[in-house]
Structures are given as C-alpha cells and as structure tokens.
C-alpha cells in the first residue's frame, strides 16, 4: 500500500487493501473522481477522517462484456463509458445521460460508481441503469454481495451500503434483443447544468406493439424510480397519442416532487409527463 503525503489520503492498489483501509478508521470514505465529494468537503457538509482513493484499482476501472452482460467498473469515468464502442452501440440511454453529466471536465473525472453512491435524485446515470435492470456488485468486511439497483437508494444521499462496503462493478444483464433506450432531461442552461426532471426509457417494439418496456423518472421523488404501473400498462399497446397521454398521467401521479431553488413541484410534475412521452417516442424511434 502506498500512502500520499497527506496522512489521511490512502491510495490502495487492490480491493482487499481498500476494504482494510476503510475498515480500520471510522469516518473513512471512498473517493474516486471526487467531483461531488470535494465540493461537499469544501462546503463543510462532510469531513471524512480518511479518503480511500479507489481510482487506481485495476478491476474498478475496466469495462468488459461477459456472456451478454456488460460489466462496468465502479471507478470507470463517465467519459470512458460514453466512448466505449459497446456502450455506444447498445446502451444509447447511457450515452445520452453521460454527455449531459456536468461538463467535459467533470465527465473526465466523475465515475459511474460515484454518481450512483452519491445518491442524488437528479443523478444522470441512475435512470438509464434502472431501465437496463442493472445490479451492483459490492465488497465489504463481510464478503461480497449483489444489490439490484432499484433497491440501492433509500433517500437523497442515502444507500443501503454498510460501513466499509465498496461498490466494485455495475452489471447490466443480457438485454432483450432489439430493445432501444433513451434519456432526456429538462434543464435551464444547455450545458453544465443539473436535471430539473429527467426520464429514461427502454422499449422493444414488435409490429408497432410494445413487447417490453422500462421507464424511470428522476428528480421528482427522494430517489430515482421505475414507473412500474406504466411499464405494465404499455405491454402489448402501440404508442398512440392516447396511450402516451395515459403514461404521462401515470408519470405525473407517481411524481412526488419538491419545490426548491431550481423549480417548483408543479413544474416538475408537469415536466415528468412531458419527458416520459419524449423518451418513449425517442426510444421507439431508435427501434
């Protein structure tokens, strides 16, 4: 193990070392890109006793395909992910979202694991991964476990991770053949902004009828969530104006947004309806 000159900054070279470094000091925290964490530290919102830098652990930065699954290392940067040929060809929602995450500088530093563990209800990558049925591989003091992404968040900034646990890999299981995905958000500035509302969809159409549907909404509830009712409703239907209208209603009803400095809850709820229609149409267009 090498230690940086700052005593509370640890750069482990393996997962085992990382878990140890996290374990033997309470208040130790994982850092990868640092694009959220450092802002929080500077603002005084958090003051970890130790930072464990996982960005140099080889298996955490790799992206690989394995029998139809896509395995993305938790410390892979957003830029690396959206440039990956398989991601570009088969997972367009991830590319849509990654290109909107922060700006270029942020995309060069921010990691997928960090984006998920930061647990922002407005996180770009959460929705696309939800519609891909992603799972997280986690390692910790009591061994390894697998967490379905939809069970991962418990509230804004909160996850089911236990002290000492590290997300190692984001696993996207084999996809339904021919399904297509999309991500869109409502924002104010056209770059370097944050979603006021965001939505993701994955669809498989067969002769104009929906065979398979996944929809996610972000920034309208404490966590990013799947629109299960709408997914079920869409089964076997065509994307007519009437059907889209119904899904938009379901999206609005499922949204429990807050009013904050960025938008009112009324606007967020209305935009949930608008965005769901748009991502469905876009995913259908890509079919």
């Amino acid at each position: 193990m090498t230690e940086s000159t700052t005593t509370d900054y640890v750069i482990p070279e393996s997962l085992v070392e990382a878990v140890e470094a996290l374990q033997d000091l309470s208040g130790a925290q994982v850092i990868a890109g640092g694009t959220d964490l450092m802002v929080g530290i500077r603002a005084g919102h958090t003051s970890p006793a130790r930072l464990v830098d996982v960005s140099r652990i080889p298996e955490l930065v790799e992206i690989e395909t394995d029998q139809g699954s896509l395995r993305i290392g938790a410390a892979a940067t957003i830029d690396k992910i959206i440039r990956h040929p398989t991601v570009r060809s088969d997972y367009p929602a991830l590319v849509d979202a990654g290109r909107l995450l922060g700006g270029w500088q942020i995309q060069n530093m921010a990691t997928l694991g960090g984006n998920l563990c930061n647990a922002s209800p407005a996180a770009e990558m959460s929705g696309p991964l939800l519609v891909f049925d992603a799972e997280l591989e986690v390692i910790g003091p009591s061994g390894e476990r697998r967490i379905p992404l939809q069970d991962f968040w418990t509230g804004p900034g909160q996850t089911v991770l236990q002290p000492g646990e590290i997300v190692t890999t984001i696993v996207i299981p084999p996809q339904v053949d021919g399904a297509q995905s999309a991500y869109r958000r409502v924002d104010i500035r056209h770059s370097v902004d944050i979603a006021l509302v965001c939505s993701s969809a994955r669809l498989k159409l067969d002769n104009g009828k929906i065979q398979f549907a996944r929809i996610a909404l972000g920034a309208v509830a404490p966590v990013v969530f799947r629109l299960l009712e709408a997914e079920e409703y869409l089964q076997g239907r065509a994307l007519s104006e009437e059907v889209l209208g119904k899904v938009a209603e379901l999206a609005k009803n499922a949204s429990k947004p807050i009013t904050d400095v960025r938008a009112s809850k009324e606007y967020r709820r209305a935009m949930a309806g608008v965005l769901v229609r748009r991502v469905l149409l876009l995913a259908a267009e890509r079919n």
């Binding site: 700006g103 409502v186 104010i188 500035r189 056209h190 770059s191 370097v192 902004d193 944050i194 400095v261 960025r262 938008a263 009112s264 606007y267 209305a270 935009m271 608008v274």
Partner: protein
C-alpha cells in the same frame, strides 16, 4: 462565433480602424498577468469578514474572545475601531465600515479578522459570536413603502431613500389628446455581475498615517475621496494602485472592504488582503437592483408618441451604493432615444433588507429599455404599425435636442434600424413558425433598439473630462499615462492605436502605464462608457502635443522647416528626401540631452461640451450618444418553456470604430450577458438569504446558449470623440434582453413582463394563455 463585417475604416489611417489584438492578450492568455490574487506584500495577513446572519436586527453583543485565542489571529475589528462617520459614494451616505448597533441584511459587515492565512482568518471569523435581536424585515419595495412596514433607517420612515420627479411639457394634456393610451408594467430582476475575478483588495498602513490600497476599481480617484471620508483622513493619505482587472461589469467601484482592510492593517500593523469566495461575492456582493416600471404612453394613429407617464421603483438594498444615479438613468435616458413630447416620471429608490446594489453595465438604461422596447413592440401590434416603423417615426436624429437638453450631435439610429432589418430578414419574419422535425418547437424573431451615453457629466461634481500624457523616452519608446484604468475591455489597446496613429508609430510599441493615484494624472474613472470617447480624446490631444514637440525638435536637428516633416513607421522623415530621417530614439536622446534627462512629454486635456443638469435634470449629459439595434431569433419549446436563441444580429452606431476586433468583442460579450439576463440569470432570495450563490444555480450562459452573433457597425463620425469615435461598452448590452423577449412573443404569442423569462416562468405564462384560449372556446 463571428461572421462580422470587418469595417474598412478610413484608408488614410494606419492604426485607427485596424483589428489589432489587445496589447495584453498574450500575457493574459498565457497566465503571466499578475492579478490581485497573485499579489502579495511582505508580511501580509489575510482578512475575513464576520457577516450578519439575520436580515434585520440589533446587535446585542459581539464576543471576540474565542477568535482572539485562535493561534495565528493578529487583529479583530468591530464598530469600536471605526471612526463612526457615515459615508458612501452617493447620497444618502449610509456606510459605517462595520455595523454599530444594527444589521440590515444577511451579509452586513459586523466584524473582521486578520490572520496568518485565509483558512485561519475564516475559522476565526466563524468563532466570533454575535448575538442579535431580530427585527421584522422587508424585501419587496412596495411592501417597504407601506405604512407600518419595518423601517431600515429612521431618517427615511417610508424607506424611500431617493425620490426623483422629472417632468417636461404637459403629460395630462398629451395623454388626454392622444388617440390611444397604453399601459405597461415590467420588472427586471436582480442580477449578479458574474465577473471572473471576485472582489478583493490589499491595504497597507504606513507610519505617517497613510494607506496604500491595491485592488481593481473603475474609479481610483473617486474611491480615494470616499474612503478618506469614511476613515476620517485627508484624501492625500490614501494611495490606490490598480492591478490588471479580472473583470467587473460595474462590481468594482467603491467597496467597503477596502475600509475594513484599512482598519485591520492599522490595528495589526501588517498589510491585509481580502479576496472573496464566489459564494461571498454573489451573496454579499452588490447585484444590479431589481426595477419595476409602470408606463402609460399616449400614441396617435399615425404612430407619433405624444406623452409618457412613468413610475420607476428600485429595489435598493440596505445601503446606498451607486443606486441613485442608476435609478435616475432608468427614469429618463430613454427620453433621448425617442421623442415622447411630454414626459413625467416619478422614480423611487426604496431601502429593503437585501444586500446593497451598485452599478452594472447598462446602468439602469438596459433595464428601462427592456421595459420600453417590449412595450413598443406591443403598441406596434395594437395600432397595426410595424414596430420598426414606429421606431423610425419617433426616434431621434442628428442635430436634435432632446426634452432634457441632450444635444444629439451624431446619430446613426435610422441606419442601424435599416441595416438590422435588412441583414436579419426581420421584415419577412413568420409568426410562430414550426421548426421541423421536432414538434412543439416554435421559432420567432424580435427586434429592439437602444441608446447610451459616451461619458456622464455627474461622476465628480466639480468637473468633467480627462487628461493624459504621452511620453517619448530617450530610448524612443512611447508611454500613455492616464488616470483611468483599463477594466479588461481593451481601453489601453485603443489608446495605443490613437497615440500610434498620431505619432506614426506601431501601436504595439505603445505602452499604457498602470494607474496609481500617487503618480497618475487625475482620472474621473472608467465608467459611463467614457473610456474611448473622453479619455481617448485626451490621449489624442496629448499625442498631438508630443508630436508637435517631436516635429519642432526634429526640424531643428535636421535643419528643415517643420512643414517638411512627416511621421511614419516610427521615424521622422523629410518629405521628398527619404534618406534624411530621425528615429524616435534620436529625438528622445536629443530631448533628454537638452533638458537635464527629461523625457519628451505631450500633455492633453479634454473638457467635453457637457453641462451639469439643473434641479429638473435639464442639461447635456454627454458629449456623444450611441445607438444600436438588435434582432434575436429564438426557438421556444412550448411544452417546457425552454428558449434557445438560434440567431443574432447586432448593428451599432458607435461612431468611428478604433478597433473593430475589440469593439465586436464588446458586442459579443454584451449580447451574451443580455441573452442570459433575458432567460436565466437572477439572484434568488428566500427570507433575505441568497439561495443560489454559485454558478450551478446562478446560470450565466455557456457556449451552447449563445448563437453566432452577426455584428455590424454603422460608422457615423462624431465631432467630439477621438477620430470620431463614440462608446460601445454598455450600448452593446442594452437592446439584447428586449430583443429576446420580443422574439419569444413572436414565436409563441406570449408577452414577457418580467426578466428573466426562465423556462418555468414562460411555461406558466403559456399555460395561462392556453387556459384562456380554452375558456374562450367554451
């Protein structure tokens, strides 16, 4: 971003009219420029301000004991260390340096700490315990004027700090006789300057009781007057040295932090530096004030304006910075763009429990134009006269004297209207054109005009104008010496071109010296768009004086008549005998040899033909007036309210353009600032606290938000400015916000009455319009 027409310029000029790169551009872009943040004085400490955490309250107790014990803290100051003089840059004078017994906004300065590092200073400031007894607060100017509202300053029981009444002609009669009378309400929000470099300064105390202060300021000499009053000193006891600016847009005039730094420097005996964080700069800085406009305008069937009645209410903060002149500008500058015949304007500057506002590019006129130009667009539609024609009918012309006695010497307003209409294709615009392939995206075009001054008579009561020296050293190099700092806009480049033109030398060899009140000639300051026109004219005159001395000396040295000499390419040449010439260095050495080593110095001073307005505000304020017309093309997403500006044209009359590249740069920046002021920028406040003190939620534009901007200049030749030049700095911003608002209307049929028109605001307006339409159908 450029597809601008590079103007040809006067072919006889070798320097003026050429797109020279800014003289300091290499230094700046390679990171070599030493800004305030890079400066350090031996023994320097770092300061941090203890700011009020409540919007309004009395101070019960200040306990500094914990902070004093923190290692590394060398001085703490409170009101007890202040001379207790009320002062400020404008009247009413209501600055205290540090609050004596009362705080009036979240961020008000209560105490300050000097320590060995910025981190220790910040930690110590957090350890100063201040106990407040909270008082009711008021943030809305209309609420503040109501009886029973919380009173900020006892001498102003209705919270009205300043009241203007400006009246010409008979408005009652005018409105009574008009064919139509229209009303209009408009509100412009509070905007942050978002200059790259936050506010800061260094102050050093000297044993003779004087101070040296380093820091960017538009007005170093005026700052000296303001600070010396607050510190209870004579003016000569303060020396202000101005480092290169990292941007301002009006944020850096007189700043109380200089006086706080002075108190700490004196108490600690060490120089003290302040440099605000971005959060502090936004939350406790001095944004453009919010302004409410209420207009009633009488118009005849033929489109002639006959009377205007206006009420302008400014959301002043808790103290007065430069808000009174900003408000007066918002009240009456537009009266010299159009002939309204009869006007009556009431202006009210109202104290509220918000951070004090100060100058901002546009100085109240950008706000007034946002209100007026959207109104004119609406009137044109209502009386079925093309909005461009309406402006032609009422616009001022060269030779006009406006209602308030403003003498419009040169005026290219009509030419700007004509060119803007032509190059943008505005005449053939469609109303709410669908943009394929996306559904629900509508396109529209909007036009707006604006005027501005080139210098403002009232910056210093006693006089107007500028003086300059142009110096030829014995090594032949040429220096321009003025007392008005380049604020980053490229003024020094323009001066180099002016001096270079007169002396026949390469402008890249002309250097403008930094401004230091100890040694620089007095300068009124770099404000009111006066740099090129007024200071530049003094530079021209100084260069001409130097040129005369050069020619006289050269004639003696060469034994020829002065008329036989010409200055070109850095040499003095005998006409018709190219072999007989002298270099600037030969002249410089000879001059110094004959004068005990002195440099050859040309002096120039320019007193513009301006008048101090009388009590009714009658009097010619500026030597030259500028005009501009902008056209914006937007796409509006009708479902989300998101607006994208997709095309932009800006045509300006700024007289002769000394440097087409820097002038176009001013327009690009002004338009970008204007687009985001129309769409995204706004300082948000909840219970007196700024809720968006960062660049994520205070949204200045990125490259994706700004389209290609087509810039053109209509070159009138002004009789007063150097080589006929007028201003561009502020006029470049002025028409932009209303052009965008008018384009939104053209796209979706919804009028904007409040800026910024954020997506959510526009969405709500469109929802209301949709509901109204449904009701109508029923």
């Amino acid at each position: 971003m450029t597809d601008r027409k590079i103007i040809a310029g006067n072919q006889e000029h070798r320097s003026v009219g050429k797109p020279l790169a800014q003289v300091d551009s290499v230094e700046k872009t390679t990171g070599l420029t030493q800004y305030l943040a890079d400066l350090s004085v031996p023994g320097m400490l770092h300061g941090s301000i203890v700011r009020s955490t409540v919007p309004h309250g009395t101070i019960r107790e200040i306990d500094t004991s914990q902070a004093e014990r923190l290692p590394g803290v060398l001085a703490i100051v409170t009101a007890e260390d202040c001379p207790g003089i009320l002062f400020g840059p404008q009247k009413p004078e209501d600055w205290e340096i540090l609050c004596k017994d009362r705080v009036r906004y979240v961020g008000d300065e209560v105490a300050a700490v000097a320590a060995v590092s910025p981190e220790v200073a910040k930690e110590a400031a957090a350890l100063v315990r201040v106990e407040y007894e909270e008082l009711p607060a008021v943030y809305d100017p209309f609420e503040a004027m109501k009886p029973g509202a919380p009173i900020l300053w006892e001498n102003y029981p209705d919270n009205v700090a300043v009241r203007f009444h400006i009246e010409r002609g008979d408005v009652g009669e005018g409105l009574g006789k008009a064919d139509h009378v229209f009303e209009h309400d408009f509100y412009t929000g509070r905007y942050y300057h978002a200059q790259m470099e936050p506010i800061g300064c260094i102050a050093q105390y000297h044993t003779d009781g004087s101070y040296t202060m380093w820091g960017p300021t538009h007005v170093p000499f005026r700052s000296r007057m303001t600070y010396s009053k607050g510190l209870g000193l004579s003016m000569d006891k303060i020396r202000i040295v101005v480092p290169p600016f990292g941007g301002s847009f009006g944020a850096k005039y007189e700043l109380n932090v200089n006086c706080i730094a002075a108190l700490l420097a004196r108490k600690s005996g060490r120089p003290v530096k302040f440099f605000f964080s971005r959060e502090e700069d936004i939350a406790a800085g001095h944004p453009r004030m919010g302004l409410h406009f209420h207009y009633r305008l009488g118009v005849n069937r033929d489109g002639r304006f006959v009377a205007k009645e206006a009420r302008v209410v400014g959301t002043g903060g808790a103290r007065t910075f430069w808000t009174p002149p900003v408000l007066s500008t918002a009240c009456y500058r537009i009266d010299s763009l159009y002939h309204f015949q009869n006007v009556r304007t009431e202006g009210l500057l109202v104290y509220t429990n918000l951070s004090p506002s100060t100058c901002f590019r546009g100085f109240g006129n950008a706000e007034a134009l946002a209100a007026l130009e959207t109104f004119i667009d609406e009137i044109g539609e209502k009386i079925d006269i093309d909005p461009v024609e309406l402006r032609r009918i009422n616009g001022v012309k060269a030779g006009d004297l406006s209602l308030h006695g403003w003498s419009i010497a040169s005026c290219g307003f009509r030419e700007c209207l004509d060119r803007a209409e032509e190059v943008s294709g505005f005449r053939n615009r469609h109303h709410g054109q669908q943009v394929p392939p996306a559904q629900g995206v509508l396109r529209g075009m909007g036009l707006a005009a604006g005027n501005h001054i080139s210098g403002n008579r009232l910056i210093i009561d006693e006089f107007d104008g500028s003086s300059a020296q142009v110096r030829v050293g014995f090594d032949g190099h040429v220096d321009v010496i003025v007392g008005d700092p380049d604020i980053g806009q490229g003024m020094n480049t323009v001066f180099a071109q002016i001096a270079g033109e007169v002396l026949g030398i390469d402008p890249r060899q002309v250097r403008s010296l930094p401004v230091d009140t100890l040694v620089s000639p007095h300068g009124v300051g770099t404000l009111g768009s006066r740099g090129t026109t007024i200071v530049g004219k003094a530079v021209q005159l100084a260069a001409e004086d130097a040129r005369a001395k050069v020619v006289t000396l050269a004639a003696e040295m060469l034994g020829v008549e002065t008329q036989k000499l010409q200055l070109q390419h850095g040499d003095v040449v005998v006409v018709g005998d190219g072999n007989r010439s002298l270099g600037m260095k030969d002249i410089g050495v000879e001059y110094a040899t004959r004068h005990g080593g002195a440099f050859l110095v040309g002096h120039g001073d320019f007193t513009p033909p301006t008048e101090v307005p009388d009590a009714s505000k009658y009097g010619n304020l500026s030597p030259a007036y500028v005009f501009g017309v902008h056209v914006a093309e937007v796409e509006v997403d009708v479902e989300t309210g998101a607006v994208r500006v997709v095309n932009y044209w800006a045509v300006h009359d700024s007289g002769t353009i000394i440097n087409p590249s820097t002038a176009a740069g001013q327009v690009h920046g002004g338009v970008a600032q204007g687009i985001s002021s129309a769409l995204t920028e706004e300082v948000l406040v909840q219970d007196g606290r700024v809720t968006n003190p960062n660049f994520l939620d205070y949204r200045i534009p990125g490259f994706q938000d700004i389209p290609e901007i087509h810039v053109e200049f209509v070159e009138t030749e002004d009789p007063y400015g150097p080589f006929g030049a007028k201003s561009i700095g502020e006029s470049s911003l002025n028409p932009s916000a209303p052009a965008v608002c008018n384009a939104i209307y053209n796209a979706v049929g919804v009028r904007i009455y409040q800026t910024p028109a954020t997506p959510e605001r526009l969405w709500k307006l469109m929802e209301v319009a949709r509901q109204a339409k449904l009701e109508k159908k029923k």
